[in-house]
């Protein structure tokens, strides 16, 4: 994927930054490729330029934020079920 796990090399934060910027560059390249090569689409909205890119980004952020909200709802201490289990003994 986007990083080679070579021990030591990743410990340097600058290298990590480099990887991240590399990732952004590849993303940009893909948008350019879509412009140049073009693609098929089945539904109306899907045909818009950069639909998949935007979907990927937005959906991801949406999921993460939704999950954060969910966490507020469902989070319990790790021992939540344990006392229950003990009592049933």
């Amino acid at each position: 994927m986007n990083r080679t796990p070579r021990p030591g090399w990743l410990d340097d934060p600058r290298n990590v930054t480099r990887i991240v910027y590399g990732l952004y560059a590849v993303c940009a390249a893909l948008l350019v490729a879509e412009l140049v090569i073009g693609r098929k689409a089945e539904f109306g909205i899907e045909a818009w330029f950069g639909f998949y890119a935007v979907l990927g980004f937005i959906a991801y952020c949406g999921i993460v934020y939704a999950a954060k909200a969910l966490r507020r709802l469902v989070r319990r201490p790790e021992t939540y079920y344990q006392d229950q289990d003990v009592r049933d003994e």
């Binding site: 030591g8 893909l30 089945e42 998949y52 999921i63 939704a66 969910l70 966490r71 790790e78 079920y81």
Partner: protein, 564 residues
């Protein structure tokens, strides 16, 4: 009669009996030989029905081999070989025996041509796999295993009920496409739904898989749910309901996976979500969709096993699998990390890997069928897959901040199994045609079009970019030790809690009227089961007085009730 024994599943089940007799190296070799033998038998077996038995006038077809069952059986047995290699280091005959029986039972269930045979092996998978959970020998795993076994047994009972109903309504017990216009179909669908982890029936999966042994989870991840996918594809292909069940299944586990701390539980949620894709495909039910579901199941078995193997290896070496305690392991376990990344990329459907060539078939089938809402929701779920399985699993275990944990690389057997699985992932991704040739229907689908590659790469990489963006801004939810409520809260907490609350309310009501009910509420369980306990009113040795009294009462009751 004798061709009953040609069943590859039966080879495993019967062969497992020999395991406890062997020790050491001989046991290992025998263990490896069993799935290979079954594989050879499966490949040499021609399509058709055989192994007919007659039981109380019921016609059983114990082996029905056709394209659909063949592709699943092949995947099951390949996975069995991998899992055996993976557990090469293990010296625990109990686990080996139950794992092999489990694999054999699942394979035999695939081949079942009637509901009774299916039920028999359906229950056998449940019992054998429960042992894999118990084999971890902790209190938590014991309780989780018990819950697992109960719900699996319930599934079996429902299936049996469906079989009986079908026999009484339609007069046969063949397992073929079923209709939902009679109760038999609903019973069977519910049975399959439990094993397939439908929403609200799913919780046994996330509850039990993380409690199994490191190797046991690998076995578990392969069989139970995929058996359900197969059964649904066989019995309920094209059922509209399943499309929406599938879509729901792809979506809701995603959120849980983001905030879950136990990485094997993350994988369990991810497993649930992947099953959703397959079930949606089954629900669409076109040739392309069924092909997609089968192909995706095949690929999924391998990369999901690979991911569980990697996490199992970490658990084996480090002793914990909580994301909040891991990190930086790529220095200690470089090969495990690499294989894990291959698996993660596969499940995220990165081009050139197996997920890419199979999942897209399902999406294409959904789109072709004109279901754009489902299509959009599945795309969103795909972005979620990138998060929890594609990034979260490898990132928090092998990278992220260095937790300071240092350990040895995984044992050779584990590495070999992971390597083989990774090679299969890459092989299928690069050269999908052999897999396509195995599928139930002729395949015209071409995965590698420029359009497809670009769109999929955009989806995946922009999702990854979003992750790096959020993570570096500190917006990504941190890993926290916690338990997250799921549907299991209903039976693990809400029901008992509701009971306590309700009884406390009643107590408050009656506080003025009589003695406090609080103690009674607390000891309700004791009170209801008390009479049954060895010293309880019913369970104790009755006095002769009471016994004689019972006889005479029965006599009197009978005279009054019956004689006229």
């Amino acid at each position: 009669m004798s061709d009953v024994l040609l069943n590859p599943g039966l080879v495993l089940i019967v062969g497992a009996a020999g395991l406890p007799l062997l020790r050491g190296r001989a046991q290992q070799l025998y263990l490896l030989a069993l799935p290979l033998l079954a594989l050879a038998l499966l490949v040499r077996l021609s399509f058709g029905e055989r192994g007919r038995l007659s039981l109380f006038g019921l016609e059983l077809v114990t082996i029905r081999l056709d394209a659909l069952s063949f592709v699943f059986a092949l995947a099951f047995l390949i996975a069995a070989v991998l899992a055996v290699i993976y557990s090469w280091h293990l010296r625990d005959a109990t686990q080996h025996v139950s794992a092999v029986i489990y694999a054999g039972a699942a394979t035999a269930a695939l081949l079942a041509g009637d509901l009774i045979t299916l039920f028999v092996f359906w229950e056998l998978t449940a019992v054998a796999s429960a042992v894999l959970i118990w084999a971890r020998r902790s209190q938590a795993s014991y309780r989780a295993g018990l819950r697992y076994l109960l719900i699996q047994a319930l599934s079996g009972v429902l299936l049996l009920g469906g079989a009986v109903l079908q026999h009484s309504v339609e007069g046969h017990i063949r397992f073929e496409l079923m209709a939902l216009d009679n109760p038999a179909g609903w019973f069977v669908l519910l049975a399959f739904g439990i094993k397939g982890a439908f929403p609200f029936l799913h919780n046994w999966l996330q509850d039990s898989y993380p409690e199994a042994t490191p190797t046991g989870t690998v076995w578990l991840s392969v069989y139970t749910t995929k058996l359900a996918v197969y059964a649904l594809a066989r019995g309920f292909a094209g059922t509209e309901l399943l499309v929406w069940v599938g879509v729901a299944m792809t979506l809701f586990p995603v959120f849980y996976a983001v905030i879950e701390n136990d990485l094997r539980r993350v994988l369990s949620y991810s497993l649930n979500n992947q099953i959703g894709f397959m079930i949606a495909g089954v629900g669409v039910g076109t040739e392309l969709a069924i092909n997609g579901a089968a192909a995706h199941a095949f690929a999924h078995i391998i990369y999901k096993a690979l991911l569980f193997m990697a996490m199992g290896a970490v658990l084996h070496r480090v002793g914990t699998i909580k994301a909040s305690e891991l990190g930086g392991l790529h220095k200690s376990m470089p090969w495990t990390a690499r294989f894990c990344i291959v698996g993660s990329a596969s499940i995220s459907a990165v081009p050139l890997l197996s997920g890419f060539v199979t999942k897209s078939m399902i999406l294409a089938a959904v789109a072709e069928d004109g279901r754009w809402v489902a299509f959009a929701l599945l795309l969103i779920a795909s972005a979620g897959v990138v998060d929890h399985s594609g990034i979260k699993i490898p990132f928090f275990s092998f990278f992220a901040h260095d937790s300071g944990l240092r350990c040895r690389e995984a044992p050779a057997g584990m590495l070999l199994a992971m390597g083989l699985a990774a090679a299969l992932c890459i092989g299928i991704g690069l050269y999908p045609q052999p897999l396509y040739d195995l599928l139930p229907y002729a395949v015209e689908y071409v995965p590698y079009t420029a359009s497809h590659v670009i769109t999929q790469a955009q989806l995946v990489l922009f999702a990854a970019a979003a992750f790096s963006f959020l993570y570096r801004r500190g917006l990504y939810p941190p890993e926290i030790r916690s338990v997250n409520l799921d549907a299991d809260v209903v039976y693990r907490r809400a029901l008992p809690y509701g009971w306590h609350t309700a009884s406390r309310a009643v107590e408050r009501l009656r506080l003025t009227a009589g003695p406090p009910l609080r103690r009674r509420a607390a000891s309700t369980w004791v009170a209801t089961t008390g009479p049954l306990r060895p010293n309880g009113r019913l369970g104790t040795a009755w006095s002769t007085h009471l016994m004689v009294w019972c006889i005479v009462l029965l006599l009197g009751a009978l005279i009054l009730l019956t004689v006229r």
